[in-house]
């Protein structure tokens, strides 16, 4: 088993933090190995952000993701740039508020209204990356939701614990069923 994630979006949305939490949750709450890298180069300037996570049942050697099974895009620029990298049978997750999708035959597309839900239920998009994690692990159930909850609670100050926990459940509630990617 090997699952390759690319989480991408705009700087400030917290997709890199989400990637770190996803990988750390896999490390501590599954028997799997996990590696996280992020793009620091010029492509990460001008507001775009990208982080790669690999979760596998064996030692992970090459740490970068060239062809993701799971691509998350929270910006049109990220979607346009990375959409074609997805492996056949993989899944692309976008938020319709940020991304206007174009057809890509070999991958499946899941739209999750993170932005609009967060604005309506939480009043801001500050925790949109935590919402994203909730939706992501419901869709790709590689890490238990409560495992993510535990890592999130350690990673942020105590006073955000309840709000983050609610954001996580909000995101998870947006996804009805999981998909397989391999």
């Amino acid at each position: 088993m090997i699952e390759r994630f690319v989480l991408s979006g705009t700087g400030g949305q917290g997709v890199i933090t989400a990637a770190i939490i996803l990988a750390e949750s896999a490390l501590h709450h599954t028997g799997f190995h996990a590696v996280q890298t992020q793009v620091y180069g010029p492509e990460a300037r001008g507001g775009s952000a990208r982080s790669d996570v690999i979760i596998a049942d064996r030692e992970i050697l090459f740490p970068k993701v060239l062809e993701p099974n799971v691509l998350v895009c929270l910006s049109q620029m990220a979607y346009d740039r990375y959409c074609s990298l997805v492996r056949p049978g993989g899944v692309v997750i976008t938020d319709p508020h940020y991304v206007k999708r174009w057809q890509h035959a070999s991958s499946r597309h899941v739209e999750v209204p993170l932005h609009d839900t967060a604005m309506r239920e939480l009043g801001s998009t500050q925790a949109i990356n935590i919402c994203l994690l909730g939706a992501l692990v419901r869709l790709i159930p590689i890490v238990p939701l409560d495992g993510v909850r535990e890592v999130v609670s350690h990673r942020f100050p105590e006073r955000f614990r309840e709000a983050n926990s609610a954001a996580l459940d909000l995101g998870a509630g947006l996804v009805k069923e999981s998909v397989t990617t391999f």
Partner: protein, 389 residues
């Protein structure tokens, strides 16, 4: 979960390679860090700025890298295990003082997290272009210790080794990693206190008011130190010096010192050499790599093995002094040797010098700032095998 289980869980941390360098240095007893932040090494300074005060150490942000290495040399001479961290441009600035530490035989550890060069080059991208600079960057005949690692668990041990070697041999020791290893996050199990051997500073037993010879070796060749500014008065200089530490131009003293600085490391490769190896017994193709490149090399090695290709691998963790005898022995029966590195060819020349029939040695490299991929290496192997890409 049991208490023991919880303790074990808290020892496994999900860290960047740079953070591992910082934690390992603290484990080794480093209590003074002076540095000037530079990508991609900044997280080392960042973490130590927080961690050193917690353990009674000192963190100083200096005006530049020249000041940083000089402060580290001074702190070490005064009796504290000391370290700095930088990347290529800062490492260039440090070269003169590194030579001073070599000549005055002052233990210190320098972490160089390589980025693309020359000059300010590619701040956020991967490269392994500083290998020769570590060896020959400062002028004059000398030897130096250079260690590297491709994963965080090995990196922890390698940093501790660097401190130990620097103390035993009174030499600067360079931990040479690259942007990929420095920035990547993966699991590392922080060893229990006492789990890894630590070499403490060897202090002289010469009492106060008795003359101390700073450069008079013991029977085992080690030079006991006296904390500078403590009970003994002695001279430290970058000039060629006698056992008192005073300048000398006597040919015998010069000759002996140069031989000492060179041979104290070159004659002890057996102790200094760290490496890992896989599937060499029947290997017709041997990959040799180090640092993040070794992750790609091992990936393709295991991939090719699984389809029956007789391929094996050596991952170097000691780059300097170069383990030539080990390489020659391990590669004796190889038909092809492929050195995988992210530069225009640096270690490949050392491998060619080390082995019989150097025409067997090929270079698989990448210098565009991207991490070399398993596929890049596979293509070269197929070309060597006459199969075409």
């Amino acid at each position: 979960m049991s208490t023991a289980g919880q303790t074990e869980r808290s020892r496994v941390q999900f860290l960047q390679g740079n953070e591992v360098c910082a934690e390992a240095a603290l484990y080794a007893g480093m209590r003074y860090f002076a540095g000037y932040p530079i990508t991609p090494s900044t997280e080392i300074a960042e973490r130590l700025a927080e961690r050193l005060p917690q353990v009674g150490g000192s963190f100083m942000q200096m005006e530049d890298e020249i000041g940083s290495i000089c402060a580290v040399i001074g702190a070490s001479l005064a009796g504290t295990k000391s370290m700095t961290a930088t990347s290529g441009p800062g490492f260039s600035l440090m070269q003169e003082a590194i030579g001073y530490a070599v000549m005055a035989e002052i233990p210190c550890v320098i972490v160089d997290v390589q980025r693309g060069g020359p000059s300010t080059g590619l701040p956020t991208h991967a490269s392994q272009g500083d290998v020769m600079q570590v060896r020959y960057g400062t002028h004059g005949d000398h030897s130096i210790v250079c260690l590297t690692a491709s994963n965080h668990q090995d990196l922890f041990g390698i940093v501790v080794d660097a401190f130990n070697f620097s103390e035993v041999f009174r030499t600067p020791a360079v931990v040479l990693i690259d942007e990929v290893v420095g920035h990547m996050r993966e699991a590392v199990r922080v060893p229990e206190p006492g789990e890894l051997d630590l070499t403490e500073r060897l202090l002289t037993d010469v009492p106060r008011d008795v003359d101390y010879h700073p450069y008079a070796p013991r029977e085992d060749d080690r030079l006991p130190m006296s904390n500078f500014g403590g009970v003994h008065r002695y001279n430290v200089t970058g000039l060629v010096h006698d056992m008192w530490g005073f300048p000398s131009e006597k040919p015998k003293i010069v000759n002996d010192l140069i031989h000492h600085l060179y041979l104290k490391l070159e004659n002890r490769k057996q102790m200094l050499t760290r490496w890992r190896e896989w599937s060499l017994d029947d290997a017709e193709i041997v990959l040799i790599s180090y640092g993040s490149s070794a992750r790609s090399a091992r990936h393709i090695m295991e991939n090719r093995r699984s389809v029956g290709v007789p391929i094996g691998m050596i991952e170097l963790q000691t780059l300097w002094p170069f383990p030539s005898e080990m390489i020659r022995t391990k590669c004796r029966h190889a038909e092809y040797i492929v050195v995988v590195e992210m530069n225009m060819g640096q270690i490949v020349h050392e491998v060619k010098r080390a082995v019989d029939r150097p025409e067997r040695v090929f270079l698989s490299n990448r210098v565009d700032g991207e991490m070399i991929t398993p596929t890049d290496i596979k293509h070269l192997i197929r070309v060597i095998q006459g199969k075409g890409v």
